[in-house]
Symmetry: C2
Subunit: 724 residues, 2 copies
């Protein structure tokens, strides 16, 4: 055994150079080239708001050029306002005090984002609802005039809403950047590629663009056509009213609705989108109509994307797609993604699960764009590249998340984005990025030799969306942290176990054949727990058999929860616990004495779930709080059910999860460290063990090599590779 | 103004003597007569397990004799085992591993309580269920033999249960007393009055008894026929499996089922009672079938009770009914109670709400039996009349609850029960009871002059059961403390406001005409919140109008909650808050700044309710915890919606509730003290103000008399009456 350090079969040059995309900036040519050198960049890109000067473009680097295809055409949009994108909105509920009620449609919405579409083909889709009794009001009972719907024959003290179509007159990312950075430039509009004139125009525009930009090697499509749903209000107390990074409400228009009806043989209505005002959050199980609509849009997006890619290829350029912003319909694990012909997928990442999402997609090149973005402010408006900011700390924090995921499965490239000049005065950041680049290249080189060893445990994460939403829920961690599953996914992203994502439908198709653990983690009724899917007796009996035959069912929060059965958790007989929604009124539960768990538990990583109770005296309570079971294990046949009230990801709880998963296997596997502070990956082809320190302290860890132990000391955040 | 003390127009003798029922005990004649003197008893009674000797019976007191009509007849029960009572039970769920599955029916149940009824007319009602898919198994697919049901054609990995009828071979109160006091006497059995031979026998027995007990003035019927549901298991870790003080599962038998079918034109099935194993807790909304069954039983109980009362009256005796134990079908606010002809109702009480329940019943005499019961142990097995016990403290604690309720509405008599000899060695207890007797007689005398003043606020408590379960939920406070409404009822029981209990059906019948506040307090789906009742648009719009016209809707916990609408709380538009069950995924809520409440709030009295959020920017947040609104007020028309996350009764929170209710009125009313430690009642006919100290400390309070203030100083727990 010897420490590899620089003696690993990767050259110094290879460690320092390549696979790095740097955001250049016109006016800062020297800085651009200096940092390109320091960070080992082989590619220079532009960003939203920056340009590359000739000096940069001609400096010998490959060039990525960013195009946001649907939003750089205000003149065309002015000339063809009906080519803009649309969406359904619902008015505020208004209470009738007499038989007449008047509803101001746009009341509460941000007028700079939305404008009523009052064309006859739009109004034909509008609906008026009595929300007090869930009843559609007949179209003959209301009239639209001057932004207002007047209803006659209303029932006093009932609440009414109007569902209507409106134009989206400000492209949402531009709107966000304007708001965040106090931009004063013209509001960019966005075109709907479904509009024939717009589509012809866009293709021609792209062709022209390619002609005019001969130095561009890669056209970096900043996503494609439809933004995730982001609805702004007119009240500062609730400016951002609705934000869902994976829902489809911004893909609708009368033209789309008509095309859908032709293809699917039935018509979608406003209520399919509005759904009592709840819209269609990705966190809730979709209706069958929504599933159809998603497929309809995915197919459309892929077809149109393919045409764009073909234009780009015709000019000898490559087409990379940036999977953020206008990503709707573009899911990398969707049915059509791999058929578009993209040459690369670029994913901006804060977390490990996003690295895995990128790494596993079926596309030639996988690139991650690291954070922080080179912007004055970062998440939630906190200072980054300005006074009070510590961009080097941010960079390291995100890198720790990414690194452990990359140790499991690498991407091909890394990069940054934003205004390069902002890095001036932050030398620690520049050093950190240099170090990150080296670590990345080392990891990539290790993977090239061969995949790392995994523990003999294959995990299936079971939810509504299955593989379509592998690793992700809807957007980034900080947008979905209130959902337990994202914590689980983030923990899993760097664990030495095989992971797959399966839907309830998959369960009928032998999805568990090679699986030892099934995880179901969510809140009752949500897409992650599964809601009505659990009404399937087939699902329940398949999983029951899976556990009875030796598997582990790991339920977190409100797993398998649905009303209407003997138990609220449909897997209660396996878990040995259930949640009392009220059905256990007057029923005593089992007294218990907590037992020692065979692994170290992290209580603070298990947010409470109320009303949990034992359904079986054999259930072992491993952890309790305020007399309520929090972590339990119930032997069931040759397998077991494990329940956790919640899961909050930390390095410590991540290791707890690994140890828990390993209980499903007789053999936990080798190459694990004896502390949660250090994670490891062993690459048998090169016989290299990589050890990473997840903490800001110096740590010494013992790693189990089977016949012997290896002791490793690591500086704060350090990664070491050791030849064995 | 002068302190009344003994100058009130109640004589010393009247203050010391009368309206008190003492439990006598044979063998302790001197003690009996001594305490009768000390406590001012006018009645002596026997108790379960005690007898009265001739010396006591002939001592010049009125005599109550306790009869538990259905359980003193083991010889008859032995001779006619089919005259015993029955119930449905459900077996444990058993998983099929092949197409055959075998279920031991009694597995888990206490064999000394239950015995299978294997008669053909019993088995005809049995059912086998596939609980995995909620499907009834055809009767041809299973066979019963030797305590076991064998199912053929089962689906592997499905769970099966059997619903079956069994005899109840040990009267439950006797069973409980045996267990609690380690009795070794014969297990008492119980007869079903529906059995013709048993009924004839019981009537004759009662007649004989009356003949043989000429000194008895009052036959104290320890309830009547059917015990509340109390199912014991065979495992010490869950001895008491199911306890519901107001449900009807112990009233069933093949004969009752047949009679029901004849009267109602349809047959009840086992599943009507078993309900997926949940049985029929009073805390959950009843099915229509259960409502029919309750009416069927109530009518039967009243008819049979009337026959018993007539026998008692024929012997010149009075019939009092003790409303506890076998009380099922006897609800004092039920349709038939007042028609039975009882001369008195005796209610054992721990709490104020039980005093109000008793005081308001339509019957000539109202008596409360105070606690502690003269038993060695009390609630939960804690010592009372034994080493370590402090019965005088217990007595005062319960009296504080009762006293404030009695100040609002008095009963006619008080009393005790149990083994009198146990009071020896507890002189402080004997003094406390003497003092309680005096305070009671003073309160009763004040009421005789005229009712106390109330604040100008009438409150309607709205729930599924309405007036049928006025004041109570199901049993005592300590059995129902986990339900918020019992805390509310207990607080209300002593507040100077008019209270009525209305059902959802009542709402259509002008129930809110004279009401200023509607309270709805419970958990989603339970009988107190209301569950599916809230699907009624009529209910929602009636209440909406009520508030819009000036009323207050006070929602606590999960008020008006039901799934399937725009909001989870159907009154969210009035409350200005809603609970996020997941439907608000991706929807931002309103930012707010907490505002000062116009009253003193008691945060610790509001247990948290998760996921509460504002639905309106005008909602005032009066209290929050961990960023979640806990107490809010939302102006709505001329009225308002007030939300509280929970309510836990204490003297302090009780005053908070009063102040909250008074917000619904322009004028809070006079005669209130300026501290929660002192409550008051003003009797205008006698111009007497009664002030009670709710605490163990000396308190000085100022009472608002309108034009002036009155200052009162009170010793710990003291009651003072002051002529104004």
């Amino acid at each position: 055994m010897k420490e590899m350090d620089k003696s690993f079969s990767i050259s110094d040059e290879a460690l320092h150079q390549g696979d790095f995309t740097l955001p250049g900036e016109s006016g800062y040519e020297a800085l651009t080239l200096e940092l390109a050198q320091k960070w080992g960049a082989d590619v220079i890109r532009d960003s939203d708001g920056t340009k590359l000067s000739d000096d940069i473009v001609k400096a010998g680097y490959r060039i990525y050029s960013t195009i946001c295809i649907i939003r750089q055409h205000n003149a065309f949009a002015e000339a063809h306002p009906d080519a803009q994108q649309e969406c359904f909105l619902s008015s505020k509920p208004v209470m009738a005090l007499s038989s007449s009620v008047s509803i101001q449609l746009m009341d509460g919405y941000f007028r700079e984002q939305f404008e009523l579409n009052t064309s006859p083909e739009s109004i034909a889709y509008w609906q008026v609802w009595d929300r007090t009794e869930n009843a559609l009001v007949d179209a003959s009972a209301w009239k639209f005039r001057d932004g207002t719907v007047e209803i006659e024959g209303a029932k006093p003290y009932h609440l009414y809403t109007v569902s209507f179509l409106c134009w989206r007159i400000w492209e949402e990312i531009n709107m966000y950047n304007h708001t965040t950075n106090n931009w004063t430039s013209e509001h960019l509009r966005q075109l709907d590629p479904r509009h024939p004139l717009a589509w012809a125009y866009l293709k021609e525009w792209l062709n022209d663009w390619c002609v005019k930009n001969p130095d561009t090697n890669v056209v970096r499509l900043t996503s494609l056509f439809y933004n995730f749903v982001w609805i702004f209000g007119d009240d500062e107390r609730r400016k951002s009213m609705f934000t869902d990074w994976a829902s489809y409400d911004f893909t609708v228009s009368p033209a789309a609705l008509k095309a859908f009806e032709e293809q699917y043989g039935y018509a979608m209505t406003a209520e399919d989108f509005i759904q009592k005002g709840h819209l269609q959050p990705t966190h809730l199980p979709p209706t069958d109509h929504k599933r159809d609509w998603m497929q309809f849009i995915q197919k459309f997006v892929a077809e149109k994307a393919k045409e764009l890619v073909e234009i780009i290829h015709a000019h000898g350029k490559q087409a990379y797609v940036f999977y953020d912003d206008s990503w709707v319909g573009l899911e990398p694990y969707g049915e059509f993604f791999s058929k578009v012909g993209f040459d690369g997928l670029i994913k901006c990442i804060f977390s490990g699960f996003e690295c895995r999402l990128c790494a596993g997609a079926e596309v030639p090149t996988h690139e991650i764009r690291l954070h922080p973005y080179l912007f004055p402010v970062g998440l939630g408006g906190a200072p980054t590249f300005m006074e009070g900011g510590h961009p080097e700390k941010d960079a390291m924090e995100y890198w720790l998340h990414a690194r452990r995921a990359l140790l499991r499965q690498s991407v091909d490239r890394i990069g940054l984005g934003g205004y390069l000049h902002l890095t001036q005065g932050f030398p620690a950041f520049n050093d950190t990025i240099e170090q990150i680049g080296k670590e990345f290249r080392l990891i990539k080189a290790l993977h090239k030799e061969g995949a790392p060893v995994t523990c003999p445990v294959k995990v299936a994460v079971l939810h509504t969306w299955g593989s379509l939403r592998s690793w992700t829920l809807s957007g980034h961690f900080h947008e979905t942290f209130m959902h337990t599953l994202i914590h689980v996914n983030e923990a899993l992203s760097g664990l030495p176990v095989d992971v797959k994502f399966v839907s309830f439908e998959d369960m009928g198709n032998g999805a568990l054949k090679d699986v030892q653990v099934v995880i179901n983690a969510g809140r009752a009724g949500d897409a992650w727990s599964g809601g009505d899917a659990w009404k399937s007796e087939k699902l329940v009996s398949t999983l029951t058999q899976f556990v009875h035959d030796g598997g582990m069912f790991l339920g977190i929060g409100e797993p398998s929860a649905v009303e209407g059965y003997s138990t609220f958790f449909r897997m209660a007989h396996v878990l040995g616990v259930d949640e009392d929604t009220g059905i256990y009124a007057c029923h005593a539960t089992w007294n218990y004495e907590p037992e020692d768990a065979p692994i170290h538990l992290v209580p603070e990583s298990m947010p409470a779930q109320d009303h949990i109770r034992l359904t079986d005296p054999d259930t072992q309570v491993w952890l309790e709080r305020d007399g309520m079971p929090q972590c339990t294990m119930h032997p069931f046949g040759k397998g077991c059910g494990v329940y956790m009230s919640g899961f909050a990801v930390t390095p410590e709880s991540t290791r707890m999860l690994l140890d828990l998963l390993c209980l499903a296997s007789k053999d936990a596997g080798k190459y694990l460290s004896d502390t949660w502070k250090v994670e490891t990956a062993f690459y048998p082809a090169s016989r290299v063990l990589a050890a990473v320190n997840e903490t800001g302290e110096t740590v010494t860890a013992n790693v189990d090599l089977g016949e012997k132990k290896l002791t490793v000391s690591l500086n704060p955040y350090e990664m070491k590779t050791i030849q064995i």
